[in-house]
Structures are given as structure tokens and as C-alpha cells.
Amino acid sequence: MTESVITTDAVTVTAVDKVFEAAAGQVVALSGIDLVVEPGEFVSLIGPSGCGKSTLLRLIADLDTPSSGSVEVFGTSAHQARVDQKYGIAFQQAGLLPWRSVAANIALPLELHGSSSVETRERVAELIALVGLDDFGDRYPDELSGGMQQRVAIARALAKKPELLLMDEPFGALDEMTREYMQTELLRISAETGAAVVFVTHSIPEAVYLSDRVVVMSPRPGRIAAVVPMALGSTASRADDLREDGAFFEMITAVREALHGGAPASSARGVENR
């Protein structure tokens, strides 16, 4: 750090609590969360159901507001970041508009923010090429497989060239083979765009394969139990052969043990081991 460039974190979560008011009383979804995601970094949130990983992602996206504490995205409030379109988001459901073609779905965020039609057309063509759907621009979502729909959703999330991509179990509904293929595609895309990624999953191998750091969460109340750095080289250089590498299995073991509070255990409840 010899230069005097001030680098802003992509995401800064400070002392965040989230309490939901339910009929049966208060439910503490998140308690005392501190997390920093650096620009260009790939961070996965993993943990059993009910650990608040999706809630944390929704707070970063300003789809929910924290009960206390603060969430900043690129140095501004999460709310301002949402208004300024600083992030793109993809959910487990692709959530495409069925009455719009692939191209028109990808164009949606551009249209809503008044891009000219020429700009939109060029950007959509770029994005379609980026996610490898070249001949499918005129197709409709009901003509696509689940994996292809999810690619459209990713292209749509990248439409405004965000430097932060938020993903909530985007491959959770895909079959295993498609899922592994999409993971490698996602690494390529995130390397090409240079965007930071916050990725919610409950698959340990998925988190290990994709991430620079894996944030392990535990439930009731949702807390960060451990942050495990992945000693697997840069995410941009990873390819499918990594899945058979000894280092990969060591990292899987490290994450699994973190999920069990350090003690080696045969299985983590509510977490996929595949």
C-alpha cells in the first residue's frame, strides 16, 4: 500500500442484528454480525437452514432492513447502493418474466433506468454472449432448461455492470451435473467482470470450489461461527480438475469441521455434503 488510493470495501456489515416479529413472539434471525467483503472477492455464506444466511444477503441488498447495526455497500448505505444500482442480484428461482423473451428479460433493468434502445440492444448482445446463450435471445423462458433460465438471471443481474453480485442459492434447484457446470461458468464470468460476489449456499463443495473465503454460520440465533479462507489459488484460475485435488478435500474438511464448531463429525445436519 505505497499509493494513497483509498480502497472502499464492497460490503461492510457492522454489528448487525435482525429480529423478526412473529405471532409466537420475537425471532432473532441474526445476532452480532460483522463481515467485510473486499472488491472482487468471492465470499460464500454457508450454514444449516435457519442460520440467517439468506436474511444477511437480503440486508446487503436492502430488501430488508437490520434491527440494529449498519450495512454499507461501496461506502454508502445499503439503501443508497440499491437506489444507485450498485449491485446485481440472482435468486434460487430464476424469476424471469414468462411473457418476455430472453433478450427482453435481460433488458429489463436497463429499460427501467432509461437506457437508450441502441445502448440496451448492444449491452444485451454482450450479456447473451457472456453467459453463452447466443442463439436463444428470441426464446421464451418456458422453452429453456433450468440451467439456461439461471444463466439468463445471471446475465440480467450483470446488466448494469455492477461491481457486486448477490446470489441466493442460484444453483439450488439444478441437477448436480448442470450445477457443477454452472459453477465453473460463474467463476469465468466473475473473473471477466471483476465483480465481488456474495454467494449463499448450503453445499460445502460448492462453497469451497467458488470462494476466496467461506463464512460459516450457525443457527438460533444466526451468528458467524467461523471464516475459512480457501487456500486454493485465485478463483479465476480454478477449473473442474480442482474437484479431484487433495487440497480441495482438505478445504471441504476444514469447512465441515467449522460447521461443527471444530469437532470432526460424520455429518452436518441440514447441510448437503455432496
Partner: protein, 269 residues
């Protein structure tokens, strides 16, 4: 009419929608059945087993259709226009009311019982009152009755459609910081549209039958309903049946156009 008033619109394209061999078979089957029924009817009516005034033969009805063709066309136009004006007005009021009801739960609670009440007002009670209100030479009363009949299914289906927005679409629009108007235009209205058009399909037949029945209770003559009752009253049964055929054709035309629109809108959702 309330029982069948909310029906989920067809999902996607039905398998036989393409004009392939399946489509031909589906078109031919009802024609074959219709021709057979008319043939059997002709045989029974011609055999003298049933008195001609009870069941006029298809041939006699056909002859009346040819003889009174110009009158049938003009009668169909009068009743058809009343039904169309009512359908359009009822549809617009139905959609607007549903939009209003969707803004506040309390408004929905206020409107729902009123609509349930409107749905069961008998035409026999309403028609004479409206005829008195608008004068004996006015079609307005009939158009209002058709509008009322059309309003109910359009309102109920649209109100339901406006509640079908998917949570993932809502989250997505929020992540885009979209304005309420943008959310309404891109997601809410488009999601509701197939439901609205299902309502319009149901309303189209109701508008025709209501406009026609309303003619039984006074007002200017010349419509299909009026001529059916006049013909029957003067024991011209084949002619009464000829006007019934015209009424059937009018109703089918309305419902075919409405079904076509519905299919167009429901194609992708």
C-alpha cells in the same frame, strides 16, 4: 353465475392449440355430432310423433330463417350492440374497481359483499325499473343490465389476478429501485391480464344473454329477445326458434372472440 365466476385461465398453450391433425379432429367432432342431432330431430319432427307447435322441424326453422333473414340481421345487430356496449362498460368498471380494491384491504372488504349482492340481482326485477327510468324507447336500461352482468366476473377475476404477483418478482423490482408505476406496469398488470381476460370470456356470454332477456320486460321492440317473445306469443313457433338460432350464433360469436383474446394473453405466463 357467481359459482363459475372465477376460473383460473388456461396455463400456457393447450396441446391441441396448433392447427395440426389434432386440431382438425377437434373441429370435425362437434360438427359431426351437431349434424347427427339435427338429422334425428328432423326425423322425429317429420314422423308426426310430436306436435309441430311443441317441436318444429329443423326444415321449418330453416325456412323461417331464410324468409326473415333481414329482420334477423337487424335484430341481431340491436341485441349485439346492447351486449357489446354493456360488455365494454362492465369490463372497464370491473377492471377499475378491482384496481381500487387492490390498493387497500379495507376497500376490498367493502366492495366484495356489494359485488356479491349485485351478482344475484334478478333481471326480472331490474329491467322494468330501468325501463321506467330511461323511457320506453331507450336501449340504455338493457345496456346497463348487460354491463352489470359483465362487471361481476371481470371484477372478481381481475381482483384475483392482481394478487398473483410472485414474491421473487417483487424482490427483483425492489432491487431495481423501480417506482410504483413501473412495478404496476411491468409486473402487476401483466400478471393479472390472463385472469382479466378469463373474466371477459365469462362476461361475454353473460352480456349477450342479459341483453336478450332484458328485452322481455318492455322497451323498444326489434331485438332478438323481443322478437322471440312476440313470435312465441303469436304461436309462430318455427319463427321463434329461428330467432333463437340467431341468438345462439350471436352468443357464440361473442364467446369465440373473447376466447381468442384470452388465449392470446395467456400464451406466456
Amino acid at each position: 353465475m357467481t359459482g363459475a365466476a372465477t376460473i383460473a385461465p388456461p396455463r400456457g398453450r393447450p396441446p391441441g392449440a396448433a392447427w395440426g391433425s389434432g386440431g382438425t379432429a377437434r373441429a370435425v367432432a362437434p360438427i359431426v355430432l351437431g349434424v347427427s342431432v339435427v338429422a334425428v330431430w328432423q326425423l322425429i319432427a317429420g314422423s308426426g310423433l310430436v306436435e309441430a307447435y311443441l317441436l318444429p322441424s329443423p326444415a321449418a326453422i330453416g325456412a323461417e330463417i331464410v324468409e326473415f333473414w333481414p329482420s334477423m340481421v337487424s335484430a341481431g345487430a340491436i341485441t349485439g350492440l346492447n351486449a357489446l356496449v354493456g360488455l365494454v362498460a362492465g369490463t372497464l368498471i370491473g377492471i377499475i374497481s378491482a384496481l381500487v380494491a387492490s390498493t387497500r384491504r379495507s376497500l376490498d372488504g367493502m366492495l366484495a359483499p356489494i359485488v356479491a349482492a349485485l351478482a344475484v340481482i334478478p333481471i326480472v326485477a331490474l329491467a322494468p325499473v330501468l325501463n321506467t327510468m330511461f323511457g320506453a324507447d331507450s336501449q340504455t336500461g338493457r345496456q346497463l343490465i348487460a354491463a352489470l352482468a359483465a362487471f361481476v366476473p371481470v371484477f372478481l377475476n381481475t381482483a384475483r389476478g392482481l394478487r398473483q404477483t410472485q414474491p421473487v418478482h417483487r424482490d427483483l423490482m425492489r432491487s431495481y429501485a423501480a417506482s410504483n408505476a413501473q412495478i404496476m406496469r411491468t409486473i402487476t398488470l401483466r400478471t393479472a391480464a390472463p385472469f382479466t381476460f378469463t373474466g371477459i370470456r365469462l362476461a361475454s356470454s353473460l352480456a349477450v344473454i342479459s341483453a336478450l332477456v332484458a328485452e322481455y320486460f318492455g322497451g323498444p321492440r326489434g331485438g332478438l329477445g323481443g322478437l322471440i317473445s312476440t313470435s312465441a306469443a303469436s304461436s309462430a313457433y318455427p319463427r321463434a326458434w329461428a330467432y333463437v338460432v340467431a341468438a345462439i350464433i350471436l352468443g357464440l360469436a361473442f364467446s369465440l372472440v373473447a376466447s381468442g383474446l384470452e388465449r392470446l394473453v395467456s400464451r406466456r405466463r
